[in-house]
């Protein structure tokens, strides 16, 4: 034996903790701490303090709620979400199911319907503006079909339904893509066996969809709903391009209070309202769409 037994320090324990992963993560934590957590706290702080004295006060919130546009902003924001999000989910689900049947050309169909991911809410607003504006493509079609002689003015304060409708339509057109992808991914994870078993036991396609696939798709649906709702609360550019301030929304009001009225405190109050709404609705989703325990 080349090494004497006595020299073998076999009992020395080695240092266990590896600092490398923590070092690698530190920059992210620091950065997000400063540029994410801090602003969040700042927003709450700003909303609850007087800009002059720095004293704690409800004044900003009072000013916000007393404003003419506030109740409308809340109403329209919630309305847009209540209309757009379910439509997105239904359409997204339809597209995902279609793609999943793998018909000829389904790959191209998938890529096409995924395109809107690269389109901002501003661009989407401008695109649909070209359709709904007075000298837009919708009027062009109507004129061609002899439905109208003179152009209809859709996007006007007198036609709030149309304004709202255009906004919802644009949102659905743009944002369905991300819902579709989330649902499609979830769909593909559901083993074919489940659907096949159901059909062996006599379930029609609709029954299989309702009783087998949708329940299994719950986590994806939950994710999609949460993401889309939170993003919908921040809707700004689409509304502004299509309706200006005729349709007030929470994010828009926040913007105006900051830039127009030069009151970052009230703007922060709006931000806090958005935060609260997003948080509570997320909590509601998580609560009522909780995936069943013991699911396969």
């Amino acid at each position: 034996m080349a090494v004497a037994e006595a020299d073998l320090a076999v009992d020395r324990p080695r240092l266990r903790v590896n600092w490398t992963p923590y070092a690698l993560i530190l920059p992210t934590l620091l950065f997000l701490g400063v540029f994410f957590v801090y602003p969040m706290a700042q927003a709450v702080w700003l909303s609850a303090t007087d800009p002059q004295t720095g004293a704690l006060t409800w004044a900003n919130f009072r000013r916000m709620s007393a404003d003419l546009y506030f109740p409308q902003a809340v109403r329209y924001t919630l309305l847009i979400i209540a209309l757009a999000v379910p439509l997105q989910v239904m359409l997204g689900l339809a597209i995902a199911l279609l793609v999943n049947t793998r018909f000829r050309g389904h790959a191209f169909f998938l890529y096409l319907t995924a395109v809107p991911i690269g389109i901002s809410d501003l661009a989407a607003g401008l695109i649909w503006l070209s359709i709904f504006t007075e000298r837009g493509y919708l009027n062009a079609v109507l004129e061609r079909l002899d439905v109208v002689q003179l152009p209809l003015i859709f996007l006007t304060v007198e036609r709030t339904d149309w304004l709202l409708g255009a906004i919802v339509l644009t949102e659905v057109w743009r944002a369905t893509a991300i819902v579709m992808i989330i649902l499609l991914a979830g769909l593909q994870l559901i083993a074919k066996d489940y659907a096949e078993t159901a059909s062996v036991f006599g379930a029609t396609r609709w029954q299989t969809l309702r009783h087998v696939i949708l329940p299994l798709l719950r986590p994806s649906l939950q994710t999609a709903l949460i993401i889309r709702t939170i993003l919908a609360f921040q809707l700004f550019a689409t509304v502004v391009t299509l309706a200006g301030r005729q349709i007030p929304v929470l994010a828009g009001e926040a913007y105006f209070w900051y830039s127009l009225y030069r009151s970052p405190n009230v703007a922060s109050a709006y931000a806090v309202v958005i935060l609260l709404f997003s948080g509570s609705i997320t909590w509601l989703y998580l609560r009522f769409l909780r995936a069943d325990e013991g699911r396969a």
Binding site: L24, L32, A114, A123, L126, Q234
Partner: protein, 269 residues
């Protein structure tokens, strides 16, 4: 053809038209001369296609500069996001450590927070920190927004590359760093590129924070929003602007479409 097949094909056709038509229309609008756009009765197809409208847009005060700003901000965002977030993604992929799950949860949570909330208090802070109305300021916010995505992408990239390959390199005489550079990095390159491209699109499209945080050094979306709100943007300007904004994003998404879908867990046959 069965009824079901027919239903599937017609539904897909309908939806495809619904997605494609507006894109087609804005493209036509961007290449239609001003008169056509304002005329009544409104024609779909202009007499002749023209570059005038786009030229008008590009020559409009501040557009070219703000486009450059947008590109610059996007580049800065990519750089920052990678330097900060890519190592974290690698750590989550390769190491098992205490706090790993909470970390992943935290990343997820940031995605769930409304970003609007960020820009307003940051605007106040930026004035203090002298970052207001700077491209760096916007890039920082965009970085914060893109970090969760970059981490998720980078993590999945490195999870997909077996650590055994690095180990094999080490048994053959590589140092740990060398093994990473020679073996893992080349294999990770396509995925990392896709992450960078995705970050670019995210930054290029971002509107709210850019509008709040800039005054003179605007990005393109900020400029356009401001023009619209200031009522200084005629229709053909808007249409050209819409088209101009979507073109790079669409090209890019088209190029990395396969990877993007795989990323979200979708397999394309």
């Amino acid at each position: 053809m069965t009824l079901r097949r027919l239903g599937i094909y017609s539904a897909s056709l309908l939806i495809s038209a619904w997605v494609a038509l507006p894109l087609l229309l804005i493209t036509i609008a961007a290449f239609s001369p001003r008169d056509t756009l304002y005329a009544w009765p409104r024609r779909f197809w202009p007499e002749h296609f023209t570059l005038e409208t786009l030229r008008f847009f590009l020559r409009f005060a501040g557009v070219w500069q703000s486009t450059l700003n947008s590109v610059l901000v996007a580049m800065l965002t990519i750089g920052l996001a990678f330097v900060i977030a890519a190592p974290a993604g690698y750590a989550l992929a390769r190491f098992r450590f205490r706090g790993r799950d909470s970390m992943q949860l935290a990343i997820l949570a940031t995605k769930m927070f409304p970003a609007t909330v960020l820009s307003i208090p940051l605007a106040v802070a930026y004035i203090r920190w002298r970052l207001y109305d700077t491209l760096w300021g916007v890039a920082i916010v965009h970085t914060a927004l893109s970090i969760p995505f970059v981490i998720v992408i980078v993590t999945s990239v490195f999870v997909g590359i077996s650590y055994e390959l690095e180990e094999a390199a080490m048994t053959l005489g590589s140092s740990r760093v060398n093994a990473f550079l020679r073996v893992t990095l080349p294999m990770a390159a396509p995925g990392l590129a896709a992450a960078a491209i995705f970050t670019f699109v995210l930054s290029w499209n971002e509107v709210f924070a850019a509008t709040i945080l800039t005054l003179n050094n605007r990005t393109l979306p900020a400029l356009i929003v401001n023009s619209i709100l200031g009522a200084g943007a005629p229709l053909h300007f808007r249409f050209a602007g819409g088209f101009f904004m979507i073109v790079p994003a669409l090209i890019i998404i088209f190029l990395i479409r396969r990877y993007l879908l795989t990323l979200w867990g979708v397999t394309v046959r």
